[in-house]
């Protein structure tokens, strides 16, 4: 038993898991408020990361400025996407909605590969120190940064939904669209806002992951990895998304440890979450925190 490797991997798992949690939160946000399953969540991440990288490298902006510009860009992107593509599909059957987001995902994936290239590009050095010593463990600064950002986003979400007027409007819309509309909430703008927030936060997550690893179209796979996390946590629970994300992140790294030390299969790391997904769907389809779907005739 290699304890130091295991603990290192588990810490990585928590950090990565927090990021999964953030992306899963964006996914749940869209699902809850607009009943759309967003298969293009991964592309949001890649888009945010590429735009920020482009601003830093080619436009030679300072990282902070590039970061802010990316957020503005992602907001506009999310709103336009909702208005142009998703709005005509309100009330369509679930397969249409799923397929439209899949279509978006293919479209943007190849568009971005075309514009930004296929190869992975690393961010230029953003932090002065490469890694810090914490409790006797070696942690990369980028990891620490990503952890801080994740916690910050989660607190932001909590505050937004609990106390702000718009958050309340969104919760009301998620609860019942017709009632919300009759109480004077503009459901259209709530939908647009949900997509905008989701795009912005995914963009942030993309930048953070880009800092930790490097930016490439492979980041989009996180959009797929989110599914085990949200199913485990429950599709319509924001807390569930965070918990599911962290569990999946740790489990993934745990699987890598077992694989590397004992089994030597090679790719248990990527496939383990999907086995978990199937098992969860068989035993407890609504996840840990999801609301059970009760149908009346």
């Amino acid at each position: 038993m290699n304890w130091s490797l295991l603990s290192q991997l588990l810490i990585n798992g928590v950090v990565v898991g927090m990021l999964y949690g953030v992306v899963a939160m964006c996914f749940v946000l869209i699902y809850k408020s607009t009943q759309v399953v967003n298969f293009a969540q991964g592309e949001f991440l890649v888009l945010g990361a590429w735009v920020c990288l482009w601003l830093v490298v080619d436009m030679e902006l300072h990282f902070a400025a590039a970061f802010l510009f990316t957020l503005v860009f992602m907001t506009i992107f999310g709103i336009i996407l909702q208005m142009v593509v998703l709005r005509p599909l309100i009330g369509e059957p679930i397969i249409s909605v799923i397929m439209v987001t899949i279509g978006l995902s293919i479209f943007f994936q190849s568009l971005m590969n075309w514009i930004f290239g296929n190869s992975a590009v690393a961010f230029p050095q953003v932090f002065e120190t490469q890694s810090v010593e914490l409790f006797g463990l070696n942690i990369e600064t980028a990891y620490l940064f990503s952890l801080v950002i994740s916690v910050f986003i989660m607190l932001g979400f909590f505050y937004f939904f609990k106390y702000s007027r718009y958050g309340l409007a969104m919760r009301a819309t998620a609860f019942d669209q017709q009632v919300a509309q009759s109480l004077g909430i503009s459901v259209k703008s709530v939908f647009a806002m949900a997509w905008a927030i989701s795009a912005v936060v995914s963009g942030i997550a993309g930048i953070v992951i880009g800092l930790v690893n490097s930016v490439s179209s492979a980041l989009a796979f996180i959009g797929i990895k989110v599914f085990p996390a949200v199913i485990l946590g429950g599709l319509d629970s924001i807390i569930g998304a965070v918990v599911g994300g962290v569990i999946i992140g740790m489990l993934e790294n745990g699987a890598e440890f077992v694989d590397g030390q004992y089994l030597h299969w090679g790719n248990l790391y990527t496939i383990a979450p999907f086995y978990i997904l199937i098992i969860v769907l068989m035993i407890k389809p609504y996840g840990l925190f999801g609301t059970k779907d009760i149908e009346r005739i």
């Binding site: 085990p228 496939i271 005739i297």
Partner: protein, 356 residues
């Protein structure tokens, strides 16, 4: 009324037999026969490249028909169809090399093997539906892809496996033209099988499950049985198409059966028309031709306006983007697909001067 060649506006069929006939009008039957004859003679009419496209249309069409049974008729979304397609390709190659059974027989046998796998992966469908099922099939896609990469005994691992050429009574079906007839045979058989399924008791049960599963259950339809059965049927056709695909290429590798192909299958049936037999084939034609058309279009743009010569390097990306864009545009502007549009056109021709 049903004896007239053109139906008057509205449905005037008065017997069950007329309602369930395979060809609703005589002209549809005649056109089908003419179309089949043209396809049979097509090697004389067109060059080999078109034949190779037709083979692809046939293979993808068979798989899309299977997916249409699952998605269009039963209303269960599957994002893992290409994994079953791949499983068919591998199992036919594996059966042929290990047991020496001739390829012509291993192709349907591979379909049956894939059915078994499809039934296993269909078990979650007994409990979950809609979105949850879509995600479960997504997981099965990745699990099967991982299996292909790992199971050396079955798939040859990362190096892939060799699929022998099919032999027809001593004639090797090694050229595109010879193989075309094999694909055409299976495509016609599959089309008739699915069209017949739609007329049978089981087919109606599947449609009832799609339309309202609770009502279907109250009417005595065994939901679990039919949901899993739909998976079985759809994976049979996927396996059949996959086996043909494997023997057509002569070589099967695990990289060919990714989620992108699954999405393309879904795109075929959405573009063609959910639940429609000719729709699945039309969708396959559309998806196979789309890259070709885009290629020609890009070349045309470049030759007419040299300013856009930068597009040359992006050809591959434009082809991929066009698939995504086609899905989005069809869902927004023509959600019922090409088959529905064809019906509309037929109707408007029939009613031409007085459209009301």
């Amino acid at each position: 009324m049903s004896s007239t060649s053109l139906r008057p506006c509205g449905d005037f069929r008065t017997t069950y037999k007329a309602d369930q006939s395979l060809f609703p009008t005589k002209w549809i039957f005649r056109w089908s026969v003419i179309g089949l004859l043209v396809l049979l003679c097509s090697p004389l009419l067109v060059d080999e490249y078109i034949i190779s496209l037709l083979i692809l249309v046939g293979i993808y069409g068979i798989a899309a028909l299977g997916l249409n049974v699952l998605v269009g008729m039963t209303g269960q979304i599957s994002l893992g169809h290409s994994a079953f397609f791949g499983f068919g390709a591998f199992s036919s190659a594996w059966l042929n090399t290990t047991t020496e059974i001739p390829v012509l027989i291993t192709i349907p046998l591979a379909g049956l093997m894939t059915t078994a796998v499809g039934l296993i992966f269909g078990i979650p469908a007994a409990r979950i539906k809609g979105l949850y099922l879509a995600i479960a099939t997504l997981a099965s896609q990745f699990i099967l892809e991982d299996f292909f990469a790992r199971a050396n005994w079955f798939t040859g691992g990362s190096s892939g496996s060799v699929a022998e050429t099919a032999m027809f009574f001593g004639i090797p079906l090694d050229t595109d033209i010879r193989f075309f007839y094999l694909v055409l045979f299976w495509t016609v058989v599959s089309c008739i099988a699915v069209a017949n399924l739609k007329r049978s008791r089981d087919g109606r049960a599947l449609v009832a499950v799609r339309d309202h599963y609770l009502s279907a259950e109250i009417m005595g339809i065994n939901l679990t049985k039919y949901r899993i059965l739909a998976f079985g049927i759809s994976s049979f056709f996927a396996g059949l198409g996959g086996a043909l695909f494997g023997h057509y290429l002569g070589y099967v590798s695990a990289e060919g059966f990714t989620i992108i192909l699954s999405i393309q299958f879904l795109a075929m049936i959405i573009i063609g028309g959910l639940g429609s037999v000719p729709g699945a084939i039309m969708g396959a034609v559309f998806i196979v031709l789309l890259p070709e058309v885009m290629e020609a279009l890009v070349s045309l743009v470049i030759s007419s306006a040299p300013i856009f010569s930068g597009l040359e390097s992006g050809k591959a990306y434009i082809k991929e983007m066009s698939i995504g864009a086609a899905i989005i545009l069809f869902l927004i502007f023509e959600p019922d697909g090409l088959a529905h549009r064809c019906g509309q056109i037929r109707k408007s021709i029939k009613l031409y001067p007085f459209s009301y």
